[in-house]
């Protein structure tokens, strides 16, 4: 049984080019909208920022979402998107008009009570609606509700554990949403391995069409995902590796301990923002997580709003060069490519970050 030499290679080339062109198409769709008015100072008054941002953004949902992803704001960008508004209508539109600053949005209390399902699927809907073309399969993947694990992961004390559960479920959904051009490297045995094991196929946002085989490449599980420093927990989930997890540490000024998030489980700044809000809410609201953080008095709602108005927190990240940057300037893909860790700084500390 000789392996098909040219056939395999030819196929791989075809697949790669297909993926490449699709990827570039995607990028064009996201960024090819011309220049828009942006507020680069970031320190201006909240409401004026909001109004200018809102007014300068065209009505199409697609461009709305994408532009917001790149707008420079004090808080996390993208928090004003119409999709999100629809999620939180029960919390009052007026609150949403206020600056959506990390880590709180006015509906903070409300969010904790909201079923995770609503929040998550709402985000997904928004995302998938705006992405067209080859990403259709992606949207079906994301809409499968596999994201439900993410909020769970951010709430539980076992961040790493559940994070991987999220990854794994994602992977299984991805394998079902696999593009037809997936190439399998192993004749004869692959179908068995692909369907039985939950490795999933490589349909990540980066186009890769190779099927993943159990135990290949022969890397110990604790060495995987070195991009983000933690991988020793991969064994927990069915003993299978979790390819593509991009865990970065998130620190917050004043918090007694750090958290980790998997950037690959989000596709927009807004998702990241809401996840981080949930994760760190206990530090600002005084709620204790299961981690046993020392409890403080619960802040009143008015105090919450004060925190918001005061632009208390800013999300920053350290990039590959070691510089501390404000989150939100670059497209999401570029961001996760260069982000090494995240830090929630107090607004006063972040002054030096404005360009």
């Amino acid at each position: 049984m000789s392996p098909p030499l040219l056939g395999v290679e030819g196929q791989s080339q075809c697949n790669v080019s297909l993926m490449a062109s699709s990827a570039s198409a995607d990028r064009v769709a996201k960024n090819g909208l011309g220049l828009k008015e942006r507020n680069y100072l970031g320190l201006s008054d909240c409401s004026s920022v909001d109004s200018s941002a809102v007014s300068s953004v065209p009505e199409e949902k697609k461009s709305n979402l994408n532009l917001k992803a790149t707008e420079l704001r004090l808080g996390l960008p993208g928090s004003q998107s119409p999709e999100r508004e629809s999620d939180f209508t029960l919390l009052g539109p007026s609150k949403l008009d206020e600056k959506q600053l990390f880590p709180l949005i006015p509906s903070k209390d409300g969010i904790c009570l909201l079923s995770q399902k609503t929040v998550v699927s709402g985000n997904k809907r928004g995302f998938s609606d705006t992405v067209d073309g080859f990403s259709e399969s992606k949207s079906t993947v994301f809409n499968d509700g596999s994201w439900m694990f993410n909020p769970a992961s951010s709430d539980s004390g076992q961040t790493k554990l559940a994070g991987n559960a999220g990854i794994n479920v994602m992977l299984s959904n991805r394998s079902s949403g696999t593009q037809p051009s997936v190439k399998t490297e192993v004749p004869g045995n692959t179908s068995k391995e692909c369907s039985n094991k939950m490795n999933g196929s490589n349909t990540n946002s980066a186009p890769a069409s190779k099927a993943q085989v159990v135990g290949w490449p022969p890397i110990r599980s604790f060495r995987k995902n070195s991009l983000a420093p933690t991988s020793k927990n991969n064994d927990e989930v069915d003993g299978k590796p979790g390819p593509g997890a991009l865990f970065v540490k998130v620190s917050m000024d004043g918090a007694p301990y750090l958290r980790k998030v998997d950037l690959r489980t989000y596709s927009t700044y807004q998702e990241l923002s809401s996840a981080l809000e949930k994760m760190f809410s206990c530090f600002t609201l005084g709620q204790c997580g299961p981690q046993g953080a020392p409890s403080r008095e619960t802040l009143s709602e008015s105090k919450l709003r004060d925190l918001l108005h005061g632009s208390e927190y800013v999300l920053t990240y350290e990039d590959k060069d070691g510089d501390w940057m404000l989150v939100g300037d670059v497209p999401w893909e570029m961001f996760i490519d260069s982000c090494k860790r995240l830090k929630i700084m107090k607004g006063s500390d972040a002054i030096g970050l404005e360009c």
Binding site: M1, S2, P3, L5, V8, E9, S12, Q158, K160, L161, E185, V186, N189, K192, E193, S195, N196, N202, N204, A206, A208, K210, Q212, V213, V214, G215, W216, P217, P218, I219, R220, S221, F222, R223, K224, S226, L227, P229, T230, K232, N233, D235, E236, G239, K240, P241, P243, G244, K249, E318, K320, G322, D337, K340, R341
Partner: protein
């Protein structure tokens, strides 16, 4: 052992001969023999010694104190206890290597407990236990902690099954512990409470490695421990220890020869930066450095002062770029072993070639094994650059996405002394990317040129020709790993017939069938083990093998959903203990 009354060390040889015994053994009294043999450490030599004659066999068994068992199922605890009465240190290996890559079911076996039960009875003076790829339960650890008053050293490599409770038993009860070395632990979420259980007056620790355990430990307890243990020479902490905590530990232990740092992810004040820098500067004895999670270009320079004596630098947890590596290596002229992640790319490897002329071992791990981000990683150029600068290279593990035959030929010409050549081209069956040919010539060159080759892992597009080369030239080969290679049974046959010293053969996803399997009938008893998965083996072939060779254990693991005929994963090993009793239902012993 009672000395034979006929033999006395003062009796001259002619008197002995007059008894009619011309046995050369009679010239050599037992006490002398035992004295001489007790000086032999190598277990291979000892095995040879024990084959000379019955007296030598006896003398050897009474003087052996270090026990090495490469496959825990090849022999039973009872047989071992009967043969060797005076064992003080044990090294045991369990699961086949492919268990590292999640290819075995969870409960496959290799549980150490039955061994410990036997040791507790037969070797109450046991001092050292070193396990690799075995399952160690908390219950076993408790038994270990309480059964051996002289116990000193515990080393667990790639082991699983234990939790904080087990470790607590060890640290609480082993008052003479000098070594606690937990490497590449497969167990998740082992708590950190064990560290706090060392008694207040405990001070004998020399080696402490908990770098692969996830949980936080009490830094207070750790600091006290380190300051009490004046003989500490190896300290490898886990990621939870911060830089400024590390600095305090270093202050207490300036004599360290091996250090594994914690995380470098911290914002240091200038004062703290200075402190850690001088702490490293004072660690003049450091030979081995590892850890370095989240090391960035800003904090790497704190290490420079400690690098001049470094012989082993393990950067496999530090995602570095080429420039950062180059700057670091400029301070490490004496490096003999280097492990890096492929984010350093070919440019970083050029720096290796130019900065580390004494390098003997290089391992390059991929940051992104599944190629999700299309990061470049390393290629043949990097490997070539290293081979040009590091002529003493003898061990390489190289994960790459492209390679050429020409490069490999040149590399082994530059470095003909390779003993371990493990090249992993990560896309299965990938040809020479320049010529589109198979990679047969590359590995042929390795087999031909590297006469000392003991371990080989092949990859890329390979036909039977590769295996012809290996069978023909690789006469010292002991371990061979093959994946996605070969064209017919002939490939495997060439290896089985041609490599006289072959001990471990592991094969996956190759077109080798029953004929190939059965061609090695006689060979497998001289080998430690054979692993074949996702090949063309059938149950019929495996049953035939099992029937013909009763002293081989032939175990088959069926994958879910596979039919009655296919033998998905086959593990064959020699054993004097017969088929094992503890196999889970999914493992069939034929």
């Amino acid at each position: 052992m009672d000395p034979d009354p006929k033999k006395s060390k003062f009796l001259p040889s002619n008197l002995l001969n007059s008894n009619g015994s011309s046995h050369p053994q009679s010239l050599f009294p037992d006490e002398v023999l035992e004295k001489v043999l007790s000086l032999i450490d190598s277990h291979k030599d000892r095995n040879s010694v024990s084959l000379v004659c019955k007296d030598w066999y006896n003398a050897e068994r009474w003087t052996r104190s270090n026990l090495f068992i490469g496959n825990c199922y090849s022999v039973s605890p009872e047989i071992v206890a009967r043969r060797f009465p005076k064992i003080k240190s044990v090294r045991l290996k369990g699961k086949p290597r492919f268990s590292d890559f999640d290819m075995l079911p969870r409960d496959w076996g290799a549980n150490v407990h039955s061994w410990l039960v036997m040791f507790a009875k037969a070797y109450p003076f046991l001092e050292e236990l070193r396990l690799k790829r075995m399952t160690v339960s908390d219950q076993s650890m408790e038994l270990l902690a309480k059964s051996f008053p002289h116990f000193r050293a515990l080393s667990l490599s790639s082991c699983d099954g234990f939790t904080d409770d087990g470790l607590k038993a060890i640290t609480t009860h082993c008052g003479n512990l000098t070594e606690l070395d937990i490497r590449d632990s497969v167990t998740v979420d082992v708590g950190g409470g064990w560290l706090s259980c060392f008694p207040e007056d405990f001070s004998s620790l020399e080696i402490l490695n908990f770098s692969s355990l996830n949980s936080e430990v009490s830094f207070e307890a750790l600091e006290k421990l380190v300051s009490r243990c004046r003989s500490l020479r190896v300290l490898k902490v886990n990621e939870s220890i911060t830089l400024d905590q590390l600095q305090r530990l270093l202050v207490h232990a300036p004599l360290l020869t091996e250090l594994g740092t914690g995380s470098f992810l911290q914002e240091l004040t200038p004062r703290q930066y200075e402190d850690i820098e001088s702490a490293f500067g004072n660690s003049k004895n450091l030979q081995v450095l590892s850890g370095l999670w989240d090391a960035t270009s800003f904090y790497l320079p704190v290490l420079y002062g400690a690098c001049s004596g470094l012989t082993f630098l393990n950067l496999s947890d530090a995602v570095l770029q080429s420039g950062e590596l180059a700057k670091l290596l400029a301070h490490c002229p004496n490096l003999r072993r280097l492990w890096v992640i492929d984010t350093v790319e070919d440019k970083g490897l050029e720096a290796v070639g130019s900065s580390c002329p004494l390098l003997e071992e290089l391992r390059v791990f991929p940051v992104d094994p599944y190629d999700l981000d299309h990061r470049h990683g390393v290629s043949e150029m990097g490997f070539l650059a290293v081979s040009r600068g590091c002529r003493k290279l003898r061990y390489v593990l190289y994960f790459c996405r492209r390679m050429t035959n020409a490069a490999v030929v040149t590399i082994v010409q530059n470095c003909p002394d390779f003993t371990h050549f493990r090249l992993c081209i990560m896309n299965p069956r990938q040809p020479d990317y320049l010529t589109n040919e198979t990679m047969d010539e590359a590995f042929g060159a390795v087999a031909k040129t590297c006469t000392k080759l003991r371990r080989l892992s092949v990859s890329g597009l390979l036909t039977d020709t590769t295996f012809e080369y290996i069978g023909k030239y690789a006469k010292n080969l002991e371990t061979l790993s093959v994946a996605f290679a070969g064209s017919s049974d002939r490939g495997m046959q060439c290896v089985l017939e041609g490599c006289p010293k072959l001990r471990k053969l592991e094969i996956r996803d190759c077109p080798f069938g029953n004929a190939a399997l059965l061609s090695g009938l006689k060979k497998y008893e001289m080998m430690r083990s054979l692993w074949m998965s996702s090949c063309n083996l059938t149950m019929k072939g495996c049953r035939l093998l099992a029937r013909e060779m009763p002293r081989l254990n032939v175990e088959v693991i069926k994958d879910k959903g596979s039919d009655e005929i296919q033998a998905d994963k086959v593990y064959v090993y020699r054993s004097v203990a017969g088929p094992r009793q503890d196999a889970p239902p999914v493992v069939l012993t034929l």
